[in-house]
């Protein structure tokens, strides 16, 4: 047990990721970006980023192309719903896991 007087006397939390654990494990469906459709990927320059804007958990990067942090993505599907060109498909985790195992 840490012995700094202060930390033991009151509820004092320090910032850090993953307080709720690896929330990627909540996911039933995994968002997968089709880079042939994704606007910034196609243009090869910063553009669109609608998925990044609406992602509640900030797990999509504002990069070319955007990437998704599956460690923490909760699989809410908002990115897939909001993508203006339908570049994000939700694929069942179980299928992907089976494919990865093969």
């Amino acid at each position: 047990m840490k012995d700094e007087k202060f930390g033991c006397r009151k509820s004092y939390s320090e910032p850090g990721p993953g307080d709720g654990g690896r929330t990627g494990s909540w996911r039933v469906l995994r968002p997968v970006i089709d880079l042939t459709k994704c606007i910034p990927a196609k243009k090869n320059k910063p553009a669109c980023f609608t998925c990044w804007l609406y992602c509640p958990d900030g797990v999509i990067s504002k990069t070319v192309p955007p990437t998704i942090d599956y460690e923490y993505c909760k699989g809410c599907e908002i990115c897939a719903e909001e993508c203006p060109v339908g570049a994000i498909t939700m694929i069942e985790e179980s299928i992907l896991i089976m494919e990865e195992e093969e």
């Binding site: 910032p15 307080d19 709720g20 910063p46 990044w52 923490y72 909760k74 699989g75 909001e82």
Partner: protein
Amino acid sequence: MAEQTTILNLTDEEFVHPGNRACSGCGLSIVYRVGLKALGRDTILVVPPSCLTVLQGLYPIAATQLPCLNVTFASTAAAATGVLGALRAQGREKTTVAAWAGDGGTSDIGLQALSGACERGEDLIYLCYDNEAYMNTGVQRSGTTPRHVITTTTPITGKHQKKKDVPAIIAAHGIDFVATASAAYPLDLFDKIKAAKQISGPRYLHIHTPCPAGWGFSSRYSVKIGRLAVETGLFDLYVIENGQFRLTGQSQKMLGKKRLPVIAYFKTQSRFRGMTEDQVAQIQSEVDAKWAGYEKMMGEEAGC
């Protein structure tokens, strides 16, 4: 309002750690993530019990990268006042103090403290994220739950009373900045918080915040449903600056145009499942009357 922020120039700096305890597709997560971008690092937060308490994490790990004081349910705006007092006493006035509370913590139990802070002219930004019920405790009705909504404390015939108009109550204090925003329009929210930061005194933002679990829809549609609330004219985006009301963003664009019928919004969520056709028609006529008022007001302004 100054230059509008776009997705491309919105900062990619994040202030909320991933792996937090918010539900999948949480509207508050969108609002909070974008809101903190607008508030910036030199901010102290004050938070009463709410979904945000859960999002922020359990001791000793915090999902928020800003300093935050968790306070009792009724005391949000008073606690923000205390932080401000200490900052003034210590010559640290540059730091922004922002209170984040839910609709229950604002419209019900926290209203007295908020009213006191507004009357005293405290230099705080108060953000109410309105998910229209006590979601953290399991979807009980609040003052801002709309009429006819099924909650766990209005389980059979729905809520019989109207949604409390909190922004109007706060505006009646004569403060310089009151605005509404929506999780579905994060850039509009960002710009409104930025505008609020430009002035001092009490500043109030009321943010419509869809909740998949509490409203009964798939998390996929959190943004879409927020948008429908605005497009049907049920929840309006506006700013009251120095007493001057004006519609903003999508709501402003809808002036003089045909709105989507309110049923388009109601049918997307199971919480409205108890509504009769007559009730839908009644709400539609109220929304039509409200918008007729907006049209008239804008017409008069254009006329003079």
